[in-house]
């Protein structure tokens, strides 16, 4: 489905993503982990078209999407959530989702009223229907993340990229969020690329895990393989622990 070949992204002398290749098959949940500054978010931004890749190629369902504009990539079927929620703060929740509905390819002539109706379905799915008329800036962090998910789902993506959805959530909220994402995967038939710091979640939910370190892919495999990989332990905890 998603095929990344030898992508490199530099910021001046700093190589944020170095010659990374990966592929994601349809229906998979792929975890992307790595220590701070490993280049996870940069890689996502390259996939989504926020940053232009210096070299390499990104393909989605056989279509070359390297260096396309973010809105074009969204229309192909890739959607994302942000590490720090980025709602439209001065808009109500339902309007936030309506923007995503109106950005879709199949709604070229949808009226605003119909878009609001469509948006309500997605809000209901994430459990925010009762807050549809609340301004996005007045929502709690969990609700803002749920709103982001509703917004991402409203674009009807094939591949959903989740960027650290659990950051800042308490254990109960994290559990709700995981259930919500799993339900979304089943009901919308999604493929998920999940960037996460919380190791437990990745080990439980991911079919396959990729590890980035200093912009390079150092390991790839099932969660069990990754948890035993010495290079991964070295990257996270240092050489001393890897030798034990």
């Amino acid at each position: 489905m998603l095929n990344i070949k030898n992508v490199t992204k530099r910021f001046g002398n700093l190589v944020a993503v170095n010659n990374v290749s990966l592929h994601i098959d349809e229906g998979e949940v792929v975890g992307l982990i790595g220590p701070n500054g490993a280049g996870k978010t940069t890689l996502i931004n390259v996939i989504c078209g926020v940053y232009k890749a210096d070299s390499g190629k990104v393909e989605f369902n056989g279509v070359d999407i390297t260096n396309k504009e973010p809105y074009e990539i969204c229309k192909v079927g890739i959607s994302r959530t942000y590490q720090i929620p980025q709602p439209f703060p001065d808009m109500t929740a339902v309007n936030n989702v309506a923007v995503a509905v109106l950005g879709r390819r199949d709604v070229a002539n949808m009226s605003f009223g119909d878009a609001l109706l469509d948006a309500s379905h997605f809000l209901q799915f994430v459990g925010l229907l009762s807050k549809r008329d609340v301004l996005a800036r007045d929502l709690t962090l969990y609700e803002q993340r749920a709103l982001e998910l509703a917004r991402a789902l409203a674009t009807l993506p094939k591949l959903l990229i989740i960027d650290e959805a659990m950051a800042g959530l308490n254990p109960t909220e994290s559990l709700r969020a995981i259930r919500l994402i799993n339900r979304a995967r089943d009901e919308f038939n999604l493929t998920i690329l999940w960037v996460e710091h919380v190791m437990k979640i990745i080990m439980e939910t991911a079919d396959r895990v990729l590890v980035l370190h200093y912009g390079e892919k150092i390991a790839e495999g099932s969660p069990e393989e990754i948890s035993r990989d010495t290079r991964v332990i070295e990257a996270y905890l240092g050489e001393k622990y890897a030798l034990r």
């Binding site: 504009e69 969204c74 439209f88 703060p89 808009m91 070229a108 949808m110 605003f112 409203a154």
Partner: protein, 345 residues
């Protein structure tokens, strides 16, 4: 072909594959109707006071500049500091064509639209490449450079004295009748501008403009072609401001860049759109009447408005950030309406 249906308080117009909905809710009609009737009756009631009539017309002219400016602020997410550039462009185009080639108002109008369109298209990439303060600074320079042009090439633009002898918009014989009819023409144009832009802002485009204003990167990520929206909004609103320049040139019969291009005009434009209510088009009406009548009241004190207006602007920006219209909206909140986002960081 075009099919029109009436369904649940909505008129649905279908043309080929496109669909447009017009919501008719008579319970929301009362206040707009009162306002329109008051504005229509006003020139008749004060027809014996030409001084007041010109004040009204001046207020409408300011609205013709500030309503598109407000739309542009919302639609591009950027504050344009040089809407007067297109006033100058429209005015000089109409004036030069009129005095050199003997064009009438109706003949100059299409040329003004075309010229404004061309210049707006030329500057429209600014909305993509420059953001925030940089956009404001670049647009601030445009009218000032144009003003220098009118001095340097004073053979063409006649420098400080300006172009005179431009064909009048109408000539009905008596001056008093002319004043009343011109007031109505400007009122009609203002109402058309308001209705047009209100319909745009309340439609699906309005919510997309709001999204651009709030967070254009997130909007882009959700499949909204922000560049197309920003460029079309900039071009369309600039052309509307150009038409305001055309009206000014034919209304006064003279046009001097020194009246409309300098910084003082910008202060008035900002005062009207901010005092009215953070780039809300109905607030512009309140702001325009306030500024025009205040300017007239201060006239006896000399050129005091040069420093009074900026002070009022500053005080209002801090004390009443939502503007006059914002107070009304707070009490009569109905539905989402895109406004300018104030970034305090």
């Amino acid at each position: 072909m075009v099919r029109i249906e009436h369904k649940r308080a909505r008129i649905i117009i279908r043309f080929k594959n496109s669909k447009y909905e017009w919501t008719i809710e008579p319970r929301y009609w009362r206040n707009p109707l009162i306002a329109v009737v008051a504005l229509v009756l006003a020139p008749l009631l004060i027809r014996d006071y030409p001084n007041l009539l010109t004040l009204l017309t001046t207020a409408y002219i300011y609205m013709l500049i500030c309503i598109p400016q407000s739309w542009q602020t919302v639609g591009t997410g950027r504050l344009n500091f040089g809407p007067q550039f297109f006033v100058g462009l429209g005015g000089y185009t109409a004036g030069l064509l009129s005095i050199h080639y003997g064009f009438g108002p109706l003949q100059t109008l299409p040329v003004v639209i075309l010229i404004s369109l061309a210049f707006a298209a030329l500057f429209s990439p600014l909305t993509i490449i420059a953001g925030g303060l940089y956009f404001s600074l670049i647009t601030l320079l445009l009218p000032l450079v144009f003003l220098e042009f009118t001095y340097v090439y004073s053979g063409i633009f006649r420098g400080e004295t300006g172009i005179s002898g431009i064909a009048p918009l109408i000539n009905l014989g008596t001056i008093r009748l002319n004043y009343v009819v011109l007031c109505y023409i400007s009122l009609f144009m203002t109402l058309v501008y308001m209705l047009l832009i209100d319909k745009i802002l309340r439609s699906r485009w309005g919510v997309l403009y709001g999204a651009i204003n709030d967070n254009e990167n997130a909007a882009n990520m959700m499949g909204v072609n922000i560049n197309k929206l920003k460029v079309t909004c900039y071009i369309a609103s600039s052309v509307l401001v150009g038409i305001a320049g055309w009206f000014i040139a034919h209304y006064f019969g003279t046009f001097a860049g020194v009246t409309y291009l300098p910084f003082t005009m910008l202060i008035k434009v900002l005062l009207i759109s901010m005092l009215g209510g953070r780039a809300q088009i109905y607030g512009v009406a309140a702001g325009a009447f306030f500024v025009v009548f205040l300017e007239d009241a201060l006239r006896s004190l000399g050129a005091i408005h040069y420093w009074i207006f900026p002070i009022i602007l500053l005080v209002f920006l801090f004390a009443l950030p939502e503007g006059l219209w914002g107070i009304y909206r707070k009490h009569k909140y109905r539905e989402y309406y895109p406004t300018m986002r104030v970034r305090k960081r």
